[in-house]
């Protein structure tokens, strides 16, 4: 169901970083087309 679905992963420094979100989603079968970690302060 999720295989091949395209995802943009935006992480946050004090929460979950982008690469971690990407790794989890790729493991679940999503295609991560862009990931980034942001700092909102």
């Amino acid at each position: 169901m999720v295989k091949g679905k395209k995802i943009i992963a935006i992480g946050e420094r004090d929460g979950v970083p982008g690469p971690v979100i990407a790794e989890c989603l790729e493991g679940a079968g999503y295609e991560v087309v862009f990931q980034v970690t942001e700092c909102f302060v």
């Binding site: 420094r13 004090d14 929460g15 979950v16 970083p17 690469p19 980034v36 970690t37 909102f40 302060v41």
Partner: protein, 477 residues
């Protein structure tokens, strides 16, 4: 610091003084990175923004600023009614126990006095009436209003006092983007605010600037030209500005964690005998003015990011009973640690504490990223210090030091509410040092662990975060 070090003897370096200043510069908010971009994109904001700017008395009476300069403790702030921007402090003064607020006229005078390249010019009558009494350093370059207007028409940045055009800030080179007017205003602002804090730290101690033999700047600017962008050594320019004639200097950069690294570097110079008195300084970040201004306008709040934060710390060999930093507690976030908040807490708190035979619950107060939530929550950026404290509390639960139902108690007892303006390097733990020293001297706390993070990934050179921490305590036998 190596985790394998077995030395159990405390290694202390004395903290002689700490001083903070906030330069209230409402008419420079328009030159913050975010406002500058949004004002260009939506000219309608040019009318709306000035209506939401605070005057100096409101900025002075703003409770988080009173905490910043030492007149109110972080514990007292927690009990004060909100919103703080409406519930102003009666009788608030611009001078605090270890800091002060500087108004915009005085800031303009500082800019003029520290400008060695004729970058900034002020309208003569206005300057004589409003800023001349604060003049120091080099004599200001004064000229007529038509000349100011002509400079601005040629590309200089317009400097305002309210709605009145009072000055012009020019570029330092016709072609070099690193010497453009906006970059140089940012750099010179960092220089003069850091210099102001250092000057007051030294005068508070009653020592001559000539006694300082090394200055480390950890400001957020990037001084340099097109062949050496970010070349640096603002430290030496600050040393010169303050009259530290015997000092050399250098800069330490590590995003928001810069000040903590700078403190470790400075303490190492002292402990190794390379230097006897070191000043660690940082000036304010012009780029971060008005960073969240859109959400403040949307919520009909004053634009709260209207101040440039700065600080100066003087380090020297530890004396008996003095408040000190524990150099043996210094911890860095290694590459292998990964970027999760839990890894940060492990490497910057749990492991260095364990090295000293301490647990998370042996720390009386944690100084973390102390961003003022009244600034960040309206924009959806959350309550940053609270998130940091909950991560530490959760780690304490995982290690069996407290029960899950004690997490809020942990946060309440060992944490505090944020009170620092979102100036990046300033809120990152170093802002708490002044209060930590007061609490250590009074015996309210036995120790405090300062933990700062740096968002290295923003520079697009690595996906990594970063961090640095150290413990402060008293030099007791």
């Amino acid at each position: 610091m190596s985790e394998t070090r077995s030395n159990s003897r405390p290694v202390r370096v004395g903290i002689e003084a700490v001083f903070y200043s906030l330069a209230h510069v409402p008419d420079l908010v328009r030159y913050g990175s975010k406002p500058l971009r949004e004002l260009r994109a939506g000219p309608g904001l040019n009318e709306k923004l000035p209506r939401q700017l605070r005057d100096f008395s409101a900025a002075t009476a703003y409770a988080p600023h009173q905490v910043y300069i030492g007149n109110i403790s972080p514990e007292q702030l927690r009990e004060l009614p909100k919103p703080w921007y409406e519930k102003l402090i009666d009788g608030a003064t611009a001078q605090g126990r270890f800091g002060e607020l500087v108004d915009q006229n005085r800031f303009y005078a500082l800019l003029a006095g520290a400008d060695q390249f004729d970058l900034v010019k002020f309208e003569e009558q206005w300057f004589k009436q409003h800023a001349a009494l604060f003049s120091c350093g080099r004599a200001p370059r004064l000229c007529s209003l038509p000349e100011i207007k002509a400079r601005c028409a040629e590309g200089a940045l317009a400097l305002y006092s309210g709605e009145q055009l009072v000055g012009a800030f020019e570029s330092g080179h016709a072609e070099d983007a690193n010497l453009s007017a906006d970059v140089l205003l940012e750099n010179l602002s960092a220089k003069v605010t850091a210099g102001h804090s250092l000057r007051l730290a030294l005068s508070g101690l009653g020592i001559d600037p000539g006694e300082i033999d090394y200055v480390i700047s950890c400001s957020e600017e990037a001084v340099g030209d097109r062949y050496n962008r970010g070349g640096g050594n603002l430290a030496k320019a600050i040393a010169e500005d303050v009259g530290c004639i015997n000092a050399a200097g250098s800069d330490v950069k590590a995003f928001c964690a810069g000040p903590m690294y700078a403190m470790v570097h400075g303490a190492s110079l002292i402990y190794s005998g390379v230097a006897r008195k070191v000043a660690v300084v940082a000036g304010g970040s012009l780029a971060k003015l008005g960073m969240k201004f859109e959400s403040h306008l949307k919520n009909n709040m004053p634009v709260l990011e209207d101040v440039l934060g700065s600080f100066a710390v003087i380090l020297a060999s530890a004396k008996p009973n003095q408040t000190c930093m524990r150099l043996d507690s210094a911890a860095f976030h290694p590459v292998r640690a990964g970027a999760s908040p839990q890894a940060m807490a492990e490497y910057l708190a749990e492991r260095p504490l364990a090295k000293m035979g301490m647990k998370l619950t042996d720390v009386d107060r944690y100084g973390v990223e102390l961003h003022n939530p009244e600034i960040t929550v309206p924009s959806g950026s959350g309550d940053v210090p609270r998130t940091n404290y909950l991560t530490l509390a959760a780690l304490a639960v995982m290690r069996g030091l407290i029960g899950k139902n004690q997490m809020q108690d942990f946060v309440h007892a060992r944490g505090m509410v944020g009170y620092a303006p979102t100036q990046g390097h300033i809120p990152s733990a170093i802002v708490y040092l002044g209060h930590a020293l007061q609490a250590l001297k009074s015996g309210t706390i036995r120790n405090a662990l300062l933990i700062a993070k740096g968002s290295l990934f923003l520079g697009r050179m690595t996906q990594l975060s970063d961090g640095c921490s150290f413990l402060v305590d008293r030099n007791e036998p």
